[in-house]
Symmetry: C2
Subunit: 367 residues, 2 copies
């Protein structure tokens, strides 16, 4: 360990991914009396459910005839609340290393892109199709300006106040940001230029109407074109060059550049963790959903096995058997029989709810 760094967080279980399956993993570990930390690249829990279909109906979650992605995540958060998971959001896992722990048992040393470190006895990869990270604008020399003048998400409401802002993108996020920064108020930018490959935007009708009003009033302008280069001078980003449909080039002066090209999943460093992969999926068994590395489990869309279907409800099953697997690893001397929340005083205590009614639970089939 290097000097001057905070001690790592020691935990029985670390879950990578706060999508629906990662969240339900918290629940199943909780029923095994194992508390978990969860890391996710997004700034909020829910993964794809929140990011890609927050408002779209899902029909195939058992016993939920219909729920939006957002509702599904809210329900799961409510369900896992008794187990008080510690969520570490907005950061990806950067590295994972196997160590021999103090007692000779394996420990996984994990570090995130924000420098958070864990020593975990078991790791659950619930990373879906990978960490959702912003699709980046790939232009020579642009990386140097990230987080100073180049942003993929507005760092705050007032971040662009009084600045000359160029926004790149054609969907909700770009349209919303353009409206927010062009409308009168304390957060108003000095100028707003919205760049998209064509003058057509995908957003709710009400937002499109507001956008049009702002264009008509001259509060923002739209440029149809593709970004091709940046102009900078003395370490300061000065302008974005755009190829326009009429084969021209336009230079758009700016103080700040906001790129809203959505998110793209990145499997990232998982490939370097030493777990066996097949076509970029993590290979698991169907007994414990354990990877080739004992103590590391993989659940949900990230894994593969014979018969695998990438469905949320399958991930729920996988998380359940993985929790039993982890319990057997962490407490090899326990019995690990299947207990039921309808009848087990132990599970009910873990859930923080009233114990089962004795009269009702005894001899229900007998006379």
């Amino acid at each position: 360990m290097s000097e001057g760094r905070a001690d790592p967080i020691v935990t029985d279980a670390l879950i990578i991914g706060a999508g629906p399956v990662g969240l339900f993993q918290v629940f199943e570990l909780g029923l095994q009396d194992i508390r978990a930390h969860v890391v996710d690249a997004l700034p909020h829990p829910g993964g794809q459910c929140t990011e890609l279909y927050a408002d779209k109906p899902i029909y195939d979650i058992p016993a939920l005839p219909v729920a939006t992605g957002r509702e599904l995540v809210e329900r799961l958060l409510q369900q896992i609340a008794p187990f008080a998971p510690q969520l570490h959001l907005g950061q990806e896992v950067a590295s994972l290393q196997k160590l021999a722990g103090d007692d000779g048992r394996t420990v996984f040393a994990v570090e995130t892109t924000k420098g958070l470190r864990f020593h975990a006895r078991t790791v659950f990869i619930a990373a879906g199709v990978g960490a959702f990270v912003p699709r980046r604008l790939k232009l020579d020399g642009i990386e140097a300006f990230e987080d100073s003048q180049l942003f993929y998400r507005a760092p705050s409401d007032e971040a662009f106040a009084g600045r000359h802002l160029v926004i790149v993108g054609g969907e909700d996020a770009a349209v919303d940001a353009a409206i927010r920064c062009a409308e009168p108020g304390l957060n108003k930018a000095a100028s707003v230029t919205l760049v998209h490959r064509r003058d057509t935007f995908a957003a709710p009708a009400a937002q499109l109407a507001r956008l049009q009003l702002l264009r008509d009033s001259g509060a923002l302008r739209v440029v149809a074109g593709q970004p091709t280069a940046i102009e900078h001078d003395g370490g300061v980003l000065k302008a974005l060059q755009v190829d326009t449909p009429d084969d021209g080039t336009q230079s758009l002066p700016l103080d700040a550049l906001l790129v809203c090209w959505g998110l793209s999943p990145k499997l990232g460093p998982i490939a370097k963790w030493g777990v066996a992969l097949e076509r970029r999926q993590v290979i698991v068994d169907t007994k414990k959903f354990e990877t080739s590395e004992p103590g590391i489990y993989a659940v949900g869309d990230v894994n593969t096995y014979t018969g695998k279907r990438k469905l949320i409800l399958c991930g729920f099953h996988e998380a359940t058997l993985a929790a039993f697997g982890a319990a057997a690893r962490l407490r090899p001397d326990d019995s690990h029989q299947t207990l039921y929340t309808t009848s087990s005083p132990k599970l009910r205590k873990l859930l923080g709810v009233a114990p089962p009614d004795d009269a009702a639970s005894s001899g229900t089939t007998g006379g």
Copy 2:
């Protein structure tokens, strides 16, 4: 085929068991555009959820923080409604035979205890711990009176009106029946005698209070004792003999005998269907949850495989992969890729709901 019998019901899929997993099997088959018939021994859908824990909370159904058994079943019935399953209740599967169909493909000939016959291309055993059948009173010669003077469930509200009724049992069902038949009204029995091994009953406090009032008023009497024999004469059941705790014997005259000893699961004839078993569980693979007999699948508590946990949520996963397996068997030339209810017009049409919003479904991660 014997003369004079109705033609068998021809179906792509027959599900044995209408518990939560059997019901969800309907849903997953529906998403594969396969319609199903369902047979269950109980007179209502839900299996154990309805029979054993209708009012007890279940906490481990994913995204349902808490639901009673009844609520879970209601939600599943609502979810499968678009696929209009045909439920055949109150009957067990008596026999299953493999036939070669007209086109050389395998057909399973199934007959129920009520004489209903099916020719099914695929069969799903979702029988849980077996068919729930009433625990029977085993006394010499008693079977002859079943459904004439001996009952395990009241055939109708007025069945015992004006008759001398003996009820055997010590829980809710026995207490409820005793109250119903002893209270004033059109359905009142001539006399009601409630027999239980001891003078203690397990029922809600309100019911116990009503029972006590009826005892105090002389409208019913309680006899503590164990049934040991019946008395009959000329094909008519006359009395039940009971051994009492004081080592005496009492003869209880009767017109009708209602035994409420609850239900007991019976695996029944499944053992004779030629599918491989291990400790009375049906062995399945984890790819399609298919048994040793191709075309017969087993899902939920009835099956076994490495890692098996008898949990409802695991059964949901099993039913899903079994449905994919059946689809591949019934339509070998199709692609059988995984479709999503959030984005697939085909699935949305099968569900009878609006197609996905094109604008929202296209390029959600793109610019």
